[in-house]
């Protein structure tokens, strides 16, 4: 089969990209080589549209051990311990085949983490679906949730937090982002950089089959009506094999046999071998006849591009083959020496004693295309003049009940009850709070993790939206008493070839960068998912942020449930009553224009750090960040969790009641303190120039705004918990 330009185009390459390949090789590639180039040069693997902009993200900091560029980021948490973590998308496959797509997304991210020598200790996810009324949504939701649970539960890793949203922009492209945290000793971290010549290259794990061929290319293209035909490009997961692979790898990693290790994720054997060679600045020679195959008659092309799951590539020290084989035999996994490292700096593949590919590694990596795509700036929208007259028709309690039962605000217990969140015996804060928290096994330390995104804000003004998510992640960690350390991001956007979408990407990244620099909250790993688009309709820009924080002693952890009657409630941070793009404006007033809330990074940092001081001094009995739905929604959630009520004390000089209660100004928290501590706490707040409002006092079971506006906690619970279960059971 002689390769031509049309075949290259069919592989998703552009004509000029094909021309460049021929120039680099100084000849026409063969079909296997074309497949390899198309896999390495697609958007998913090469980051060709995003690389230029990602460089601006801050990735250094005193706690960062490893930033972007490895399988996952690594941060120092003291005492020789480190946390390895990353978030990754599996959007395209999950839309085509929700169960397997979501399951293998979870499997893939866990592999990224244990490849580095870390035992996974927690999973999180951020999942986004189309409008609840859309005919596909319910089944996609069911399938994705079962897939995430099916894989994570079997692996025995708790799923401790997550985020679910519904928006019509995801009707044709759902988002499934999975995140994993692993624990490792600082001096036992493994990297993917090969070193040394003539070292054996080992294949371990499952056999290679024909599943997932061109998965990475599929994830780099826009969907059309024929998308169902792509089902065979979705990988099939086997969490049981991955559990064995995890245990076998960790057993081998306890010794000193491994030089480099890389999991076979997107673009399978191709990208794993090339990445190891590229990082080590050497060549790799592989005999494809040695690769364990599931089916007979697989061609070199298929073997190299298969995305069969649960496989790893390892460069071993010479002479350690027998020891390694014994471990993988014990766990009933395939083990094969398939090649060796060479000084050629080329990928050389042999099949039936014939050389079937011969490509200089740098042509696949350093010389891969990089584009400075055209992009359009989004102007900040004009503030909407919301007529306050229309508020007169509204009753606060009715609005509150409506917001609590909104699909994007309501309880997601139906989802997280299907995830094992308590296995490993260290989950000290379950899903449903501001962050999930797990203890560092056998220590007093604990790690908090949260995953956040705000597509509405990012869509209205990408620069502000980008900043806002970083701040929200920061607040969610602080609300449980954790000091924020670092983040991972999953950047979900439409087509980079469209200048509006590209503009959203560039400005969201700018916003992320500004906020994470200011807050000293570096980005240590991440992933970009473009082409979340069906024909010419792209999703709302949805960068998802996974934040990690450290609690030095878990006895200082804070939860959001109200604790004790007669304790005092304060709102920390100033309420201006920003309604544009709030859930109140969009869903109650049906006003979808206007700018998202402004971000004041100084206040954000100052308010957060001051709250951490108060937590350290043990003044804070409960805390919750104020986000979607404003003060009254946040307070109601604290009431629901603690099964207690609050008697509100109207702040003096109140701006309009609706603006005060439902405004989505940033940088705010609600806290519970003891009466006796009121002076101390407000003194510290004042000393640090942090604005606060005295909101009310905890009572037995009723949220009372005034004599006319009150509601029992049972009613709030009902509003909060019924929507999702009703929706799913109908």
């Amino acid at each position: 089969m002689i390769v031509n330009e049309q075949m290259a185009v069919d592989h998703g390459l552009k004509k000029d990209e094909y021309k460049k390949i021929c120039e680099l090789l100084k000849r026409i590639p063969n079909i296997t080589e074309l497949g390899i180039f198309s896999a390495m040069w697609n958007e998913h693997c090469s980051y060709k549209s995003s690389r230029l902009h990602l460089k601006n993200l801050p990735s250094k900091g005193k706690n960062v051990i490893q930033g972007p560029g490895e399988n996952a980021g690594v941060i120092d948490i003291g005492d020789g311990d480190a946390i390895v973590f990353k978030i990754e998308s599996h959007n395209h496959p999950s839309f085509i085949e929700p169960y397997q797509g979501a399951a293998t997304g979870v499997g893939g991210i866990m592999r990224d983490v244990f490849t580095m020598g870390a035992r996974p200790i927690a999973n999180l996810n951020s999942i986004h679906f189309g409008s609840p009324q859309h005919k596909k949504t319910k089944n996609l939701l069911r399938g994705v949730v079962r897939g995430i649970g099916g894989y994570g539960n079997c692996m025995g890793v708790p799923t401790i937090a997550g985020q679910t949203s519904f928006d019509e922009s995801y009707n044709g492209n759902i988002l499934v982002n999975a995140m994993t945290l692993g624990l490792v000793k600082k001096n036992k971290i493994f990297y993917s950089k090969a070193a040394g010549l003539g070292k054996p290259v080992i294949y371990v794990g499952s056999k290679t089959g024909r599943d997932g061929i061109h998965g990475a290319s599929m994830a780099s293209a826009v969907f059309d009506e024929k998308i169902e035909e792509k089902k065979p490009t979705v990988q099939v997961g086997d969490p049981f094999t991955e559990k064995l692979l995890l245990e076998a790898c960790l057993e081998l990693m306890a010794g000193d046999s491994i030089i480099a290790i890389q999991d076979m994720g997107a673009a399978g054997l191709t990208s794993s071998s090339i990445e190891m060679a590229s990082k080590g600045n050497l060549g790799i020679e592989i005999n494809l006849n040695k690769v364990p195959c599931r089916e007979k008659g697989m061609t070199p092309y298929e073997i190299m591009l298969s995305e069969s799951q649960e496989r790893m590539l390892i460069v071993l020290e010479n002479g350690k083959e027998d020891l390694a084989k014994k471990i993988f035999d014990k766990w009933n996994l395939d083990f094969a020496v398939i090649g060796k490292t060479t000084k050629s700096k080329k990928i050389e593949l042999y099949f039936n004693e014939e050389k079937v590919a011969n490509i200089p590694v740098n042509t696949l990596v350093e010389y891969s295309p990089m584009y400075d795509r055209k992009w359009k700036k989004t102007k900040i929208p004009k503030k909407i003049k919301i007529e306050k007259e229309q508020f007169k028709k509204l009753k606060i309690i009715n609005v509150l009940n409506k917001i609590l039962s909104n699909p994007n605000v309501c309880s997601k217990e139906w989802i997280w009850k299907q995830y094992d969140h308590t296995i490993m015996g260290d989950t000290i804060q379950k899903p449903g709070g501001d962050s999930g928290v797990v203890r560092v096994h056998n220590t007093r330390k604990a790690i908090a993790a949260s995953v956040d995104s705000s597509a509405i804000y990012c869509w209205a003004h990408p620069l502000s939206g980008g900043k806002q998510i970083v701040c929200e992640s920061w607040r969610n960690l602080i609300s449980v008493g954790a000091k924020p350390i670092a983040i991972t991001n999953c950047l979900n956007f439409g087509s980079p070839e469209n200048e509006n979408n590209m503009g959203e990407f560039v400005e969201c990244v700018q916003g992320l960068s500004d906020a994470s620099k200011y807050l000293d909250f570096p980005v240590v790993s991440g992933n970009v998912s473009f082409y979340n688009q069906t024909k010419n309709i792209g999703i709302k820009p949805t960068p998802a942020i996974g934040g990690i924080g450290l609690i030095k002693d878990y006895k200082n952890m804070v939860t959001m449930d109200l604790k004790e009657i007669d304790n005092i409630i304060l709102v920390v941070g100033k309420t201006e009553g920003h309604l544009d793009q709030s859930i109140f404006a969009r869903d109650i007033l049906n006003e979808k224009n206007g700018p998202p809330p402004e971000i004041n990074l100084f206040n954000e940092k100052n308010n957060g750090e001051t709250l951490l001081k108060l937590i350290d001094k043990n003044f804070i009995k409960a805390a919750h960040d104020v986000s979607l739905g404003g003060v009254i929604t946040a307070l109601s959630k604290m009431c629901i969790k603690g099964k207690k009520g609050v008697l509100l004390k109207k702040p003096k000089n109140l701006i309009n009641e609706f603006e005060y209660f439902f405004g989505e100004d940033q940088g705010r928290y609600i806290i519970e303190i003891k009466k006796d501590d009121f002076k101390n706490v407000t003194g510290i707040l004042e000393k640090n120039s942090v604005h606060y409002d005295h909101l009310g006092t905890i009572n037995e079971n009723e949220l009372i705004i005034d004599e006319r506006s009150k509601v029992t906690i049972d009613e709030l619970i009902k509003s909060h918990t019924t929507w999702l279960t009703n929706y799913i059971s109908k």
Binding site: L244, W331, D420, G425, Y554
Partner: protein, 227 residues
């Protein structure tokens, strides 16, 4: 007291069980499924997880593992064998316990705290526990206990029901049945009461900062009874 926890390929609560047993004073050993002999043990535990990926049927392949010959012999000679979750599924597959565990009634994995009512305290597992109900934790997809009418009669005749799903007050009814189990059964014994299988995980309830502490009551009591 010596205990042994069996690790099958796919077990994933083995470490948690090891932590719990050691916390309450057992000298615990981890035993690989492919071993032939059990170490000297006063208690053998089959932990939770997805042995052999739950393929074929939950617990069925594990029940044929090499070590299970020794475990079955140990049980038949009166040794204490406890199976939690997947361990319970393995025990019914060996025939040491009657019945089967079907998929949950609502076809969903369930992870939550539940209350169980202790039905029979005349055995080394529950003797001397003062409480009548315990708050434990379940996390399973196949915990829907089922058996024939004839088996139920026999189970009742021999007082083999260990635990019922209930509410805090010990009320056993359909609203307190998380998975559709026949008669709300959460755990059962063999006739001799030396073998116990139960879906709830006591090892996840051994610390106030986790889900709760009723698991501690269970383990503390168990080691005292075995002493």
């Amino acid at each position: 007291m010596n205990s042994s926890v069996i690790t099958f390929p796919g077990s994933n609560c083995d470490r948690d069980m090891d932590v719990a047993l050691k916390k309450f004073g057992f000298k615990n050993k981890m035993v690989w499924h492919d071993d032939i002999e059990l170490p000297k043990s006063d208690l053998v535990v089959l932990p939770g997880g997805f042995s052999y990926g739950d393929y074929l049927r939950c617990g069925s392949m594990a029940s044929k593992s090499k070590i299970m010959h020794s475990v079955i012999n140990f049980a038949k000679s009166g040794g204490k064998v406890m199976g939690i979750c997947n361990g319970f599924q393995i025990l019914v597959e060996t025939g040491l316990l009657p019945g089967v565990l079907l998929r949950n009634k609502y076809l969903e994995f369930i992870c939550m705290n539940v209350f169980v009512k202790i039905n029979n305290k005349d055995n080394s597992y529950f003797k001397n526990i003062k409480k009548d109900t315990l708050e434990l934790h379940i996390a399973h997809n196949e915990g829907n206990y089922f058996c024939t009418e004839a088996q139920i009669k026999e189970i009742n005749d021999y007082n083999q029901i260990a635990l019922y799903y209930s509410n805090l007050e010990g009320k056993v009814d359909e609203t307190n049945n998380p998975n559709g189990s026949t008669k709300n059964i959460a755990g059962i014994f063999n006739k001799e009461k030396n073998v116990l299988g139960m879906m709830p995980h006591p090892e996840r309830m051994i610390d106030q900062v986790l889900s709760g502490e009723d698991g501690s009551i269970f383990f503390e009591n168990l080691i005292n009874n075995l002493r």
